[in-house]
């Protein structure tokens, strides 16, 4: 199912959207899509074209370009214009952008809009031949129970991690002193180097508990956890470790199933 497809260029008018819709319906029939999937395809393409007609040209004439490229599993559709991008414009009674984009999102596998002011816009839609699964009521992923970050090692780690930990501590109503302690621990973790992490990225997950933050750093290469803890000791001034209510090295696995270790600590309010 990789042959065929079409390219269509026509004036961007409301009356021409129907022409495009019939073209994709014909293509859907040629691809032996089910009746309901052809209906979805018509909706998705209509809404993408509506955005061009309504928002690209400020009532000036301009082209609407539609390309449909059938692949093995899905149809890739590009809807493009040479206008000035999707300017927010209130039009009397126009609810198209209110419901149009959610319709495209719900009925296609994925879509993206690119472009910007004075360079035209392009909506790319990947439309699976099989309908999307609505059986989970539109909730496609489980909400994460914790915050997980992966940051390339370098100058970004310290400011990003310190701010995230500070924000979570503030939300958990930590005192100013405990907030400062938390950010100090974040700084200490930030000092770990690229070689400490199994996959070369600084991985940190933070659980926002009742008045406490649980932090898990890793996966680390063997020995890196001990090294990080040792670096928290300040000669003659105790250890930053004491700012945490608990700190330990835990054994675990990388996402690839390889043995790894994690530095796990908790900070309380």
């Amino acid at each position: 199912m990789t042959d065929g497809g079409f390219e269509l260029t026509l004036p961007a008018t409301a009356e021409n959207v129907m022409v495009v819709r019939q073209a994709v319906a014909g293509l859907g029939e040629a691809l032996s899509l089910s009746g309901s999937r052809i209906a979805d395809l018509k909706t998705v393409v209509t809404e993408a074209c509506n955005n061009v007609v309504l928002h690209a040209y400020d009532d000036e004439p301009g082209p609407l370009q539609v390309t449909a490229v059938p692949g093995d599993e899905q149809l890739e559709i590009h809807v493009a214009d040479e206008g000035h991008g999707f300017r927010p414009r209130a039009k009397d009674g126009d609810a198209s952008l209110g419901l149009g984009l959610p319709l495209i999102a719900a009925l296609s596998d994925s879509f993206e809009i690119s472009g910007g002011a004075r360079q035209g816009s392009r909506t790319t839609i990947r439309f699976g031949y099989a309908p999307p699964d609505f059986s989970n009521n539109g909730t496609h992923t489980q909400a994460p129970k914790e915050l997980a970050m992966a940051i390339p090692p370098g100058v970004m780690v310290r400011p990003v991690l310190a701010r995230v930990m500070g924000a979570l501590a503030a939300r958990a109503e930590f005192s100013v002193d405990r907030l400062a302690d938390t950010m100090l621990l974040g700084d200490a973790v930030s000092s770990s180097g690229e070689g400490d992490f199994s996959d070369g990225r600084v991985g940190i997950s933070i659980t926002d508990g009742d008045g406490a933050l649980g932090v898990r750093v890793g996966p680390l290469v063997t020995g890196a956890g001990e090294r990080l803890m040792a670096e928290m000791d300040v000669p003659g001034a105790g250890s930053l470790r004491s700012l945490a209510s608990s700190m330990e090295i835990a054994k675990g696995e990388t996402p690839q199933g390889e043995a790894a270790e994690f530095l796990v600590f908790e900070v309380e309010r």
Binding site: S36, A39, D94, S96, G100
Partner: protein
């Protein structure tokens, strides 16, 4: 552009039909394909019915396609009718999959709500304080 353009290549372009019953209610029946190009006509018809305070049932059953601009006109009509205390209801009875799907995905089947029988829709608007029967 004329609102009613008939049919070609098996495609029924958008048509609107208005019926009035003895109780002073109007049924606006939408058939064929409706989109951005026919939305202004639907809006005009709805505007004039609401201006004369006529309770309205929109029957989508013979429609083969509607897009978000049509949904927008229906939602706007419903809002204006509610503000003015005029009956307004939508029915889709054994109609096209394409219309079913759009109502379902947008959540409007429950939100409007959309009745599955015209009698139900008429019964809903009959309790409204629209124009008294002549």
């Amino acid at each position: 552009m004329a609102p009613n353009r008939g049919s070609f290549a098996g495609v029924r372009t958008g048509e609107l039909a208005l019926e009035r019953n003895d109780a002073g209610m109007a049924v606006l029946t939408i058939s064929g394909e409706h989109d951005l190009s026919t939305a202004p006509n639907l809006r005009r018809r709805l505007d004039s019915l609401l201006a004369e305070r006529t309770p309205v049932v929109i029957d989508l059953s013979p429609a083969t396609f509607i897009d978000s601009s049509i949904l927008g006109v229906i939602l706007e009509g419903r809002r204006r009718a509610a503000d003015a205390g005029i009956g307004f209801a939508v029915v889709h009875s054994n109609g096209a999959d394409a219309v079913d799907r759009v109502l379902e995905v947008t959540g409007l089947r429950a939100e409007l709500p959309v009745h599955s029988r015209r009698e139900e829709a008429l019964s809903e608007v009959s309790g409204s304080s629209g124009k008294p029967p002549e």
